[in-house]
C-alpha cells in the first residue's frame, strides 16, 4: 500500500543513512495518478485511470552509476533490497567503464514542500465532468464547420506526489498537477483532407485549463482552421523570410537549440561544444530555459526543484546573442567546472534523472507583429507548432500547421501546413525582429529522450530566415 508522506520521507531517510560503501545515494518515491479521456467521432475512444507508484534508487559507487526501482512493495525491507540491487548494478559497470564519474558539483540542496499553483484542484472534479467536456468539445468540432466530419478530443491529467531524499541533504516533497486538453478537427473533400489542432497543456488546475476558454472555444478554433486549411494551396519550397509564432519559437528553442546545449549532448560533440562566450545568435535573442513559469503563468514544464534536489531556476542559454550556459545536472556541472542548472529530471519513479529541458523560450523585445508583417516584402507567417526534430549539428526541421503568405507588407493567403528547416544557429543569427508579446504554447507536447518529459516553450513572434518546404 501507499505510505503516507511523512512515513515515506522517514523511510527514505533511514534508507539513505543505512547505505554503506557508496559515494552518493538518492531515493525518490513517486506516486502518479493519470486520467485519460478521449472521444473520436462521437464515440468514446479511450477512458482509463492509471495509478503508478514506486521508489527509484540511484547510487554512485566507485564512479559508476547504478539504478534500481521497485513498485509492488515499498516496505523498508523491499527498499533495502532494491538499494542492494542498485549497488550491484553499479559494480557491474566497474570492470568496463573507462571514465569514472569524477563527482557531483556542489549544489545547495533544497529542503521543503512544494505545491505547484492550481486554480481548481483536478481531484475535486468528478470524472463525469471530465468525460462530459471531452465529449462536448469533440461533438462541437464536428458541428461547427460543414467540411469537418471527423474530430477527436483528448483530456489528460497527471497528478504527482514526489519525495526526494539524497545523501547530500536534499529533502523535498512536491505536489504537481499537469492537465491538458486538445481538440483535433479533420476537414475533407474529394480525397483531400486537412487537420487542425487546438489545445493547451499546463501546470495548473481545472480552472487554469478552462478559465479563459471553454471546451466549445477550443472546438470552434480547431474546426474553423481545418475548414480553412482544406481550401488552402501548398506553399512553394524556398528559403525566405519567416515570421514564427510563439509556439514555433518555443519549438525552435527547444528542439533546435535546447537539445544542442544539454551538457550530455555537448560532451558527445554537439555543434556548440567549446563555444561559450561566442556570438551564436542575433543580439536580439535571449534564450532561456527555466524550471519556473517565468513571464507567463502555468507553463507545462514547471518543476521548481529537479530530481537531484537542486532548485530549478532560470538559466540564460543565450543572452543578447552570446552563448552563456549549457544545461546541467550535478555530474555534468562537475565536468564543466560550473554549477548545476537544475535540469536533472526523471519522468516516473522507475526512470533515472537525465538532463532535460523545462520551459524553453525566447524573451520578448519591442516589435509589434503588425510592423513585422508590414516590413516583410516577401515571406511567410507560420503558426501552430507541430512535431519537430533536430540534429546535434543544429539542423532542424519542424512542422507548422498554417503558413500565411506575405507579399509587400501584407498578409495574402493561407497556405497549407509546411515544414520549416535550416540550421538553428543560422536561423537565430538571421533574427532581425523580436515581438513584444509573450506566450507559452507547446505545453501539450512531450519531449522524448529515453523517457518522456513534460516540457513547454514559447516566446514572442520572431522574424528570421529559413527554408519553408511545401509539396511540389
Amino acid at each position: 500500500m501507499q505510505g503516507s508522506s511523512t512515513h515515506m520521507l522517514d523511510s527514505l531517510q533511514s534508507l539513505i543513512s543505512s547505505s554503506r560503501g557508496v559515494s552518493y545515494v538518492e531515493a525518490r518515491y513517486q506516486s502518479r495518478s493519470m486520467t485519460d479521456v478521449n472521444f473520436v467521432n462521437g464515440e468514446l475512444e479511450r477512458i482509463r485511470v492509471v495509478e503508478n507508484s514506486g521508489c527509484g534508487i540511484r547510487v554512485l559507487v566507485d564512479g559508476c552509476w547504478g539504478f534500481s526501482s521497485t513498485s509492488n512493495d515499498t516496505s523498508f525491507d523491499a527498499l533495502k533490497e532494491s538499494l542492494g540491487q542498485a549497488i550491484a548494478a553499479a559494480r557491474a559497470l566497474a570492470q568496463t567503464k573507462k571514465n569514472r564519474v569524477q563527482g557531483l558539483a556542489e549544489s545547495k540542496m533544497v529542503k521543503g514542500t512544494f505545491r505547484l499553483k492550481v486554480r481548481g484542484s483536478l481531484s475535486d472534479v468528478d470524472i463525469e465532468q471530465k468525460v462530459q467536456v471531452t465529449r462536448e468539445a469533440e461533438k462541437a468540432a464536428r458541428k461547427h464547420s460543414k467540411a469537418v466530419s471527423t474530430a477527436s478530443c483528448v483530456y489528460h491529467e497527471m497528478l504527482d506526489h514526489k519525495v526526494i531524499v539524497n545523501s547530500d541533504g536534499a529533502e523535498v516533497e512536491i505536489y504537481d498537477s499537469k492537465p491538458e486538453f486538445s481538440v483535433t478537427a479533420i476537414a475533407k473533400k474529394a480525397g483531400q483532407s486537412a487537420t487542425a489542432h487546438e489545445g493547451l497543456g499546463i501546470t495548473g488546475g481545472w480552472d487554469d485549463l478552462f478559465g479563459a476558454k471553454s471546451q466549445f472555444d477550443y472546438a470552434a478554433a480547431a474546426s474553423e482552421r481545418a475548414a480553412k486549411l482544406l481550401e488552402a494551396k501548398h506553399a512553394k519550397g524556398e528559403k525566405t523570410t519567416i515570421i514564427l509564432d510563439p509556439g514555433m519559437v518555443g519549438l525552435l528553442s527547444h528542439e533546435a537549440i535546447g537539445h544542442t546545449v544539454e551538457a550530455d549532448f555537448v560532451l558527445s560533440g554537439s555543434v556548440v561544444k567549446g563555444r561559450i562566450g561566442e556570438k551564436v545568435a542575433s543580439e536580439l535573442v535571449t534564450l532561456v530555459d527555466s524550471g519556473r513559469s517565468d513571464l507567463a503563468d502555468n507553463a507545462a514544464g514547471t518543476i521548481m526543484v529537479d530530481d537531484e534536489g537542486v532548485a530549478a531556476e532560470r538559466t540564460a542559454i543565450i543572452e543578447n546573442g552570446i552563448l552563456k550556459s549549457f544545461l546541467h545536472n550535478r555530474e555534468s556541472a562537475m565536468t564543466f567546472g560550473t554549477a548545476s542548472t537544475g535540469n536533472a529530471r526523471a519522468f516516473q519513479y522507475n526512470d533515472e534523472p537525465l538532463i532535460r529541458m523545462r520551459n524553453t523560450f525566447v524573451e520578448p523585445r519591442s516589435d509589434r507583429l503588425d510592423d513585422m508583417i508590414k516590413e516583410t516584402r516577401h515571406g511567410y507567417l507560420v503558426k501552430g507548432a507541430r512535431n519537430g526534430q533536430a540534429d546535434a549539428n543544429g539542423e532542424f526541421m519542424f512542422g507548422a500547421e498554417e503558413a500565411y503568405l506575405i507579399e509587400n507588407g501584407e498578409i495574402r493567403e493561407l497556405m497549407r501546413g509546411a515544414s520549416i528547416s535550416g540550421n538553428a544557429f543560422d536561423a537565430l543569427l538571421s533574427v532581425d525582429m523580436v515581438g513584444d508579446k509573450f506566450r507559452y504554447d507547446i505545453g501539450t507536447g512531450y519531449c522524448g529522450k529515453y523517457q518522456p518529459a513534460k516540457v513547454d516553450g514559447g516566446g514572442p513572434y520572431v522574424r528570421c530566415t529559413a527554408v519553408i518546404g511545401g509539396l511540389q
Binding site: 513498485s71 548494478a89 527554408v467
Partner: protein, 442 residues
Amino acid sequence: MLDVLRYAIKEAEAQGADDAEAYAAVSAESEVFIENNDLKQAKSQAISSIGIRVLLNGSLGFYSVNRLSKDDVKGAVSMAIKVARVSPKDRYNSLPSRSKVRLLKGIYDRKAESFEASDAAGLAAEMLQAAKSYDSRVSVDSGNLARAVATHALANSNGTELKERISTFSWSIMGMAIEDSNVSSFDFQSGGSHFVKDIDARRASVEFAETVVNSLGPQRITSFRGEMLLTPSAVNELVEEVISHSINSDTVQKKSSQFAGKLGKKVSSELLAVEDDATNTEGLGAASFDREGVPHRRNVVIEKGVLKKFLYNTYTARKDGVRSTGNAGGSTSSPPSVSATNFIIRPGRSSVDALVSEMENGIIISRFSGNVNPVNGDFSGVVKGGRLVKNGEIKHAVKEVMMAGNVFDALRHLTGVSREQKAIFDSILPYMRFDNVSFTAG
C-alpha cells in the same frame, strides 16, 4: 499470478460487472546505458502491474495499478466500475469468448533469467568497441542494451485463463561522426532477439558507424525530381507508419484510413507484400495471444499490391461483423487498442547492390526526419545520412535536402524491394526504392 486474476474477476462480478477482464504483467528488467562513448549507468527494475476492464450495461470502465496485493486489486476493480458508470454505452463492447491457444515456441530463453547486469555491461562495451574500431571519427552519443524476462497473463469472465513467458533482448546505438568541425548527421541503429545466443549487438554498431562515416563531408546539390532508396530504418520512419495506420480497422472505421473501402483493390505497385505476424519469432512483437486473449496468427494484409485484410480486435471486429485477427494491442495500463504485432514487408528479389546500380538519379536515405501524416500520406522533411546516386554509382553525402511527397503516391511508384531484410524491434523490413520523388536543396 493467475490467482490474482481470478480474484479480480470474481470481485468484479461481485461488484456488479456484467463482464470483466484482468491482464497482468510481471517482469524483471536490466539495462546498461551508453553515453558519450562510455558506459553510463546500469539499471535493474522489477515491474508488476494489472489492468482491469469491466463492462457494465454496455459501458466500459478501466483502471490500472502497479501493485498486485488483494487490497490494491479490489480497489482497482471498484474504480473501474466507477469509471464504467460515467462512460457512454456502446453496444459493440464485449469480451472475446474462450478459444484454444497454442503456446508459441522460440520466445523464451531460460538462460535469460541468469543474464546479469554484468553480462549486459560486457556486451555494451563490445558495442562501443565495434563502433570505435570501425572508424575513429565515430562518436557514440548514446545507446543501450536491455534484457527483459516477462510473464503476461490474462483472465476473463468467459473462462479464459492464459499465461506465458517471453524473454527479450534489445539494443540500440546512436550518434554521429566528427571530423574537425564537420559533424555528420545523426544515425540510430538497433536490434533485438529472444535468445541469448542470438544477441548480435555488434552488427548494429557497425551499421551505425558505416552510416555516419558515409554521411561526412556532405555537398550541396540542386533541387531535382528522382528516385529514393530507403534503408529499412527509413522505411520504418516513412512507410511503415502510414501503412500500419491504414490497415488498422479502427482507423478504417473512423474514416481516417485511405484504405477504407479498398479491400480487394490495388493500393500499390505489385512489388509490395505486407503481413502482420506475431508468430514470427524473429520480431520482438512475437507472442501466443493478444491483449485480450485471442490467439495470434499470421495475417496477410497486402499481396502483390492488393489489399487483402484489415487488422481487428474484438471490438472493431464486432462492428464490422467479422472475427478478430488477434490484433488487440497495448499494455496493462490501457484498455485494448488495435495494433500490428510484428509488421513485416516481405522481401523482394533484388539485392541492395542491384537496386543501387539501377538508379539513374536519386538519393539513398538512411533516415528521414520530418512529418508524416498517416491519414493522407503527405510527408515533408529532411533527408538524413543521404547519399547521391548517379548512373548507378554512389557519389557523395548530401547536405540539407528537403523531401516532400505522398506515401500512397510513392507506393504506386515503388520500383524495387530488396531481398535483404532487417528486424527493427517488432518490424521486419527490406530496402525499398521509389521513383518520382521531389528533393529541394536548402
